[in-house]
Symmetry: C2
């Protein structure tokens, strides 16, 4: 590894307690969230250092909010994600055979494996760069803040002997709760199956089978790499899972307005929609366009960070559907300009999503169903038309559908008629807006803002050198001991022996009586 | 039942949103906590009505903070508790035989059964008093607030169709968490066994066996009464446990500074030490006495609401031990004045416990180990000498002992030497004070005061008509479905059938090959 540069642009506010936070982020849409935490920490006077890859996708080398340490990396997850997600859409659109789909799933497993390997390799290079490690150790950080979607930041915290705070929604095992909180599969749906917390018997069977399948899948593609890394640097005694479960605080990018209620843990802090803010005024050109939507309202469409544009045929269908509407449409679209585009539709490279969703004219948000977008829609009470594509998007949108706040359109089946129908339902059936309004009110009815809560607990860990009083003993236990299987087995054996002794005693007594009688009768 | 009176003394503050809260409290030390919630609700402009028994022990008929509805009741738990607790102490002190102890435990089971019956009878009388029920219905309360140690308040909420908030530490099943949160017996100790969250194999066996035993005990003495009540008033379809688990918010008089960390639920709100406040100046006579303790410090002794005084012989030993100390002692003691009392010891009928514990001269708190007292000691960082007697007291103190903040003396073995030794250890071994200081700092390092948090969630339930988005689906499920036993059984059967089919197929093929070979060789 070439240790490239350390930028020193962060301006340090002179506050009473300035902590030092070392951040090992995950690139892509995950960085959007991490950046908000970093900015807030910086604003409160803490010093943040970000470990970034030289070929980083979204993580800039220079920022007014953090110092960066750039590590040479030739892997990069951008190309992988881009190819993979685009291919999935093509497959679904072209209704390729089951076989083609299976091949893609297997390929996706490979792609995910490659990403984990890449992240571990990067961490290995950091560990073996003595100059860099000394620099990090000398800086005397107060904690490591990482996103456990890729788990190598967990190793970094352990190597440095620092408290660990996770900015989490996913771990390498799947949804982060499954890692530390009891998750009864009878009412906690596993990710990726679009199930709810009210399952039929058949759905419960699917949920359990899916859980087993996902576990096997991860055991094939992911665990072995973490296991080897752990053995190489920390010996056989230490398990990756224990290091992860040993985290002081889990800041969950989630809450029970969005997610189904489920068991939780003392060291889980919910910060769903922490990135949302009241809408700011729009920039001049947008403001004028939006102002003209007063009569019929505004539709906002954006497919997030991953999808820059949809295939041309889908785009044309959507454009044609939009053209027929009386509403104004702002569409974040960076591909070729659709021929069917109407006068009411404004194509933009980028849009101030939060400010647009918070505009009183906005009637519907058309989204791929990323967590950030959905939480912004909840925050501002805007109903959703969902075009789910990959990852957690179908699940996220199905949660919104169950709560009566979203309509979902299958991209593979999308044409101008079906798209129009769905859009008009969300526009004109008031229940969607009412239900989203209810969720929005629940979100705003909290004792503390989610971002403040998150930063409080990061600062808590810095002030107190961790939060061990909130971490259960479960992470020290084997699977057998945790589930008391050894105890149950022992008690069963003892009961069986007891019953057997009773049986022997009764048998002995009966025989004796029979024998006596026999003697008498003889 | 005679419906006696409705006091109308509560002054109603003119606030924007004045909610109406119906409180069904539990008498005795539980009332101490409930009263604090009521006072705070009143201060914030809500109207509180308390349903109280005519022979109430601590719940006054008139108060500036609530309207009371008095219901005739001839049961009363005061005498029962008093006789029972006193007898336990005598038994332990006199080292009565195992048989005598067993008889007492059986008697205590009977006493507890009687208390539950009494509370249910009172609720039955309320239900059957049409005038009173109409009055309550007409008042249009926003919610029912009750302590589920006796469960009949839960029936009241169901009968009135109102949201339910619990001020809980115990339910009729035991510790309240066991009712709604997953409680792995491998690291969650059951109450009454003085176990911790780090258990040996033997302790885990004890924990599981204790859990089974307690369940059987309750099934014998408690459940049947609730079951009959439920059937009588709501029919066979409804289970008491479902009504309880259906509660909107569980305000737990606990936290993870006091309790071992364990799984929790979205609708559990921790309000441990919510009753504590910064110390106020002491009244004149006490102030003078305390001021004179500057050189060596002050010892505060109180055995709470239940125990007015200890047997005379114990009292004399304690008085003699105190007399030898250079410290000043304030002792809440209402029995006969001990002959051994020293000049340094002040006997009082009542003491401002919170203010005394918050006084900088206070070095040690001698307590029976009630939750309130321990939480006040944590709040003010005062180490503890514990004299546990009954109920949760041994458990509470064992938690403090494990955290290095308390020394425990067995009352049955207490004499002036052992008492002095223990007291001097807590006085002069600085680790007790340091550890309690750490707990105190953790308590004060919260994003929100526990009382504010509790009242926020009571008001949340009033504003939103409940909090169903925080309640998991578990309460609707049978035990078998909840643990996925039906699913596991089904999957095992399918797997077995599949294996059997494979076996049949292989057998068939083998036979065919052998058969062919035979024909050939023939």
């Amino acid at each position: 590894m070439n240790y490239i540069s350390v930028t020193l642009l962060a301006c340090i506010l002179p506050l009473a307690y300035a902590g030092k936070v070392l951040v090992f982020p995950v690139d892509g849409s995950h960085w959007v969230n991490m950046k908000i935490l970093i900015e807030e920490l910086h604003t409160r006077g803490h010093n943040v250092t970000v470990l970034r890859a030289s070929n980083s996708w979204h993580i800039k080398e220079t920022s007014p909010f953090y110092i960066s340490i750039t590590v040479y990396d030739d892997g990069g997850i951008e190309a992988l994600v881009d190819t993979f997600t685009r291919q999935i859409l093509v497959n679904r659109r072209e209704k390729l055979s089951f076989w083609a789909h299976l091949m893609l799933i297997s390929k996706s497993g490979k792609a995910i494996e490659e990403m984990h390997q890449n992240q571990l390799a990067m961490m290995g290079e950091i560990f073996e760069n003595k100059t860099l490690m000394d620099l990090i150790l000398d800086a005397k950080y107060d904690l490591v803040l990482t996103d456990p979607a890729f788990g190598s930041g967990v190793f970094l915290a352990h190597r440095l002997g620092l408290p660990l705070v996770l900015n989490a929604r996913w771990t390498m095992h799947g949804e982060a709760h499954f890692e530390i909180a009891p998750s009864p599969l009878s009412y906690v749906p596993i990710p990726g199956m679009e199930l709810t917390d009210k399952m039929t018997f058949g759905q419960r069977v699917l949920n359990v089978m899916g859980y087993i399948f996902q576990h096997i899948h991860k055991a094939r593609f992911v665990y072995p790499h973490y296991h080897s890394f752990c053995t190489k640097y920390f010996g056989d005694e230490i398990q990756y899972v224990s290091l992860l479960q040993n985290a002081d605080i889990w800041l969950m990018r989630n809450d029970f307005i969005f997610e189904f209620p489920r068991p939780t843990m003392p060291n889980i802090v919910y910060m769903g929609a922490f990135q949302c803010k009241p809408a700011k005024p729009l920039p001049g050109d947008l403001q004028e366009f939006v102002q003209n939507s007063q009569e019929h309202g505004l539709i906002v469409m954006s497919l997030g960070t991953l999808f820059r544009y949809l295939p041309q045929d889908i785009t044309e269908e959507i454009a044609a559907a939009f053209a027929k509407l009386p509403q104004k449409v702002i569409w974040r679209h960076t591909g070729p300009r659709p021929a069917n585009i109407g006068n009411n539709t404004l194509l933009v490279d980028w849009l101030p999503q939060n400010d647009l969703l918070g505009h009183p004219h906005t009637k519907v948000f058309i989204t791929h169903g990323g967590t950030n977008g959905i939480q912004e829609a909840i925050y501002h009470g805007v109903p959703i038309l969902g075009l789910p594509l990959v990852f957690d998007q179908p699940d996220n949108l199905s949660r919104m559908k169950v709560k009566g706040t979203a309509k979902i359109v299958d991209v593979a089946e999308l044409d101008r008629t079906s798209f129009s129908q769905a859009l008009e339902e969300v526009l004109y059936n008031t229940s969607y807006r009412q239900n989203m309004g209810r969720l929005s009110r629940l979100h705003h009815d909290q004792p503390m803002k989610p971002l403040d809560r998150a930063v409080f607990w990061i600062e808590f860990v810095m002030r107190n050198g961790g939060a061990p009083h909130l971490r259960t003993q479960s992470f020290r236990m084997s699977w057998i001991a945790y589930h008391s299987l050894d105890v149950i087995f022992t008690l069963l054996i003892i009961s069986a022996m007891f019953c057997f002794l009773i049986y022997l005693l009764i048998r002995y007594l009966c025989l004796k009586i029979v024998f006596k009688k026999k003697i008498k009768s003889d």
